[in-house]
């Protein structure tokens, strides 16, 4: 589907630039590169958070196997590919379970205990399943000064869910994020792979409607969210 020109609260519509959402997000290639990873130098730049998650998917096969193999070639030792590999596993399965960690350990000739130690250090690996859309609301200082806590409460209220839980319909998980480096565009919200900027309380229903519409439009879910 074609994304609407105006992203709720979108940064391109403020300031002195008249830019469309596509121009700002760089959508001429974001989400359009092959899943197999293009040139190996940039194979680790992908990992999307997809709507569709398959917790039982094989690690790795098809295009994902090609991408995994490309990533491994870029380091003098296999262990260094651990973070990108866990991200790749999460892209497919939606979260990193202890079993996933074990499988990744085998792929990279590491011990299970070692991989668990590393995986649990990093917050971006979801240790539990999440909804189709993972909504991360920054509440750190710059956003906080501009009302981020109200935005977070509004997301929770509109979705009728609790922090960190999956909503009953399975569509949303809302969590509090640490600074997303979008401080000039408060409140900054990351939804799956995308940033939503300048999000105010009044923008929340519109954003959620847009996401629900994406789901009912049946995007297929591979590659991009829209």
């Amino acid at each position: 589907m074609t994304p609407p020109e105006k992203n709720p609260g979108w940064a391109g519509n403020v300031g002195e630039y008249q830019l469309t959402e596509v121009e700002i997000r760089g959508e001429e290639f974001v989400g359009k590169r092959p899943l197999s990873g293009g040139h190996p130098s940039a194979s680790a730049t992908y990992p999307y958070l997809l709507e569709t998650k398959d917790a039982g998917a094989t690690l790795f096969e098809g295009d994902y196997l090609i991408r995994f193999e490309k990533i491994v070639t870029r380091y003098p030792e296999k262990r260094a590919a651990l973070l990108p590999t866990l991200s790749l596993a999460q892209e497919i399965r939606g979260y990193v379970s202890p079993e996933t960690m074990d499988e990744v350990a085998t792929l990279l000739d590491l011990s299970s205990a070692y991989v668990r130690g590393v995986a649990t250090f990093y917050t971006m690996y979801n240790k539990q399943p999440v909804g189709k859309y993972l909504i991360q609301v920054c509440t750190n200082i710059s956003c906080n000064l501009c009302g981020a806590e109200d935005v977070l409460r509004t997301f929770l209220g509109e979705i009728e869910t609790d922090l960190g839980e999956i909503s009953l319909d399975g569509n949303f998980s809302v969590i509090e994020a640490e600074c997303l480096a979008g401080c000039g565009f408060p409140t900054c919200v990351q939804i799956n792979s995308k940033y939503f900027e300048n999000v105010g309380v009044l923008d929340v229903p519109e954003i959620l409607n847009r996401l629900r519409k994406n789901l009912s439009d049946d995007s297929g879910g591979k590659g991009v969210e829209e």
């Binding site: 001429e28 290639f29 293009g38 730049t45 990108p84 917050t123 971006m124 480096a181 792979s193």
Partner: protein, 428 residues
């Protein structure tokens, strides 16, 4: 030009093509004079490149402000070992949002800077460690790297020379501590991102135990211009000790938030009132954090005379850090904001050093207690003592970073804390 607002006081060097989608593409970038700096660098000796950067006085833009050319010159010569250049793109200091703009608007500028840096220090392999949350920016960068390989700006025999420059984009997975240079190296090696004890310094034993130089995105983005136009040209702006321009990220209660590229030494008051259009909704200023959440808070009075250079902000009682200016108006609940910063550090402490692991958690607990009206004046003494013990006692400076806002806020905004106590006792 600043993004999303411009101002006539700006000097647009690295930010010149912000907001121009055309600059993201290789074709567009070359049309704008891109990769000429790399071509020029390759025609010089590595030592000459280092000399230009040294003379320009460029200082590290990631927060510490260490002279870049000097850092490069620490790399061993003819060691026979593999050298690495690391680019720190793990931007996560609260209040900082310049590197994401550099990644998403001008990825080729960064690639060019990286390639020049790698040539200067004799590194055949560059890793750009990107923050994991930057899905969109990372893809823009990834595409740019692919295109640069295809057109011979990276890879073997760069631009027909005998130089090989390999570049790999690596993505993190959400840990503030990986922005610390040795934590980043551990993370890139596939370990927990715990900082390493120095020495050995990275130039002796860094990534994979080999000589490594690590620079911030903004630092490397300035390099092509310095090589192209020379060190005297770069020194036209800024001060003797802080030459050149810097991106200032302004956020919080401000009319026109965003990134502005200004000469170092620019008055903080003018930045807020003139460039950014003043405090939001015409309110009066209460406090400013001039360099990201890890530096001491300045009062409105201190802001009056503060100059935004490395030495100027230090004179005013804080640090320039990564020039992330967080503006707070009269209505700001300072204690709440300090508590929010402390809880951030408690969340992000890697847990390796006891003063930090325990200290960040206790500072947060005490501040929460005070916010709930259950504190006492004694708690303020406890906080001061606790944060004293968290300063200079750990491997990295994350622990010190909590002390800065806590101690400065107690020093300058003691009333705010005491008012909470009154409310607390009033409620019984």
């Amino acid at each position: 030009m600043g993004y999303p607002y411009n101002h006539r006081s700006e000097v647009s060097i690295i930010s010149r093509h912000f907001g121009d989608p055309d600059a993201r593409t290789l074709k567009g970038w070359i049309e704008k004079g891109g990769y000429e700096g790399l071509r020029k660098a390759l025609s010089m000796s590595p030592g000459e490149v280092i000399e230009i950067v040294k003379n320009s006085g460029l200082r590290g833009r990631g927060g510490a402000g260490f002279p870049t050319g000097l850092k490069w010159s620490f790399m061993p010569k003819n060691s026979g070992k593999i050298h690495y250049l690391l680019c720190n793109a793990d931007e996560s200091e609260p209040g900082t949002f310049k590197d994401r703009e550099l990644l998403r608007w001008t990825p080729h500028q960064l690639i060019e800077g990286c390639a020049i840096g790698a040539y200067a220090i004799g590194a055949e392999q560059i890793y750009i460690y990107c923050r994991g949350e930057f899905f969109e920016a990372n893809q823009v960068l990834g595409k740019a790297v692919e295109d640069a390989y295809e057109s011979g700006f990276l890879g073997r025999n760069v631009l027909g020379s005998k130089t090989t420059i390999e570049l790999t984009v690596h993505t993190g997975a959400g840990a503030y501590i990986c922005g610390e240079e040795t934590g980043l190296m551990n993370s890139l090696e596939g370990r927990r991102g715990e900082p390493r004890i120095k020495p050995p310094f990275p130039a002796a034993a860094g990534l994979f135990g080999l000589p490594t130089t690590i620079n911030n995105v903004e630092t490397l983005s300035a390099v092509p211009h310095i090589v192209m136009y020379g060190s005297d040209w770069y020194r036209k702006w800024g001060t003797e000790k802080s030459p050149g321009t810097k991106l200032f990220c302004v956020s919080g209660h401000i009319e026109r938030p965003g990134n502005y590229e200004l000469p170092l030494g620019f008055p903080l008051k003018d930045l807020i009132e003139d460039v950014c259009g003043g405090v939001k909704d015409g309110k009066s200023l209460k406090a400013v954090i001039p360099g990201g959440s890890s530096v001491p808070i300045l009062t409105a009075e201190q802001v009056e005379t503060c100059l935004l250079s490395y030495e100027g902000v230090e004179e005013a009682g804080s640090m320039l850090g990564c020039a992330s200016v967080i503006v707070m108006d009269e209505s700001t609940d300072i204690v709440h904001q300090v508590m929010r910063m402390a809880s951030f550090y408690a969340h992000e402490s890697c847990g390796l050093c006891t003063p930090c692991r325990e200290g960040t958690a206790w500072v947060t607990t005490i501040l929460k207690k005070m916010e709930n009206g259950q504190g006492s004046e004694e708690d303020l003494d406890t906080l001061m003592e606790l944060t004293d013990q968290m300063t200079g006692t750990t491997i990295c400076v994350l622990s010190d970073s909590v002390a800065a806002p806590v101690q400065s806020s107690i020093r300058y905004f003691r009333e705010d804390y005491l008012n909470l106590l009154k409310v607390g006792s009033g409620n019984g």
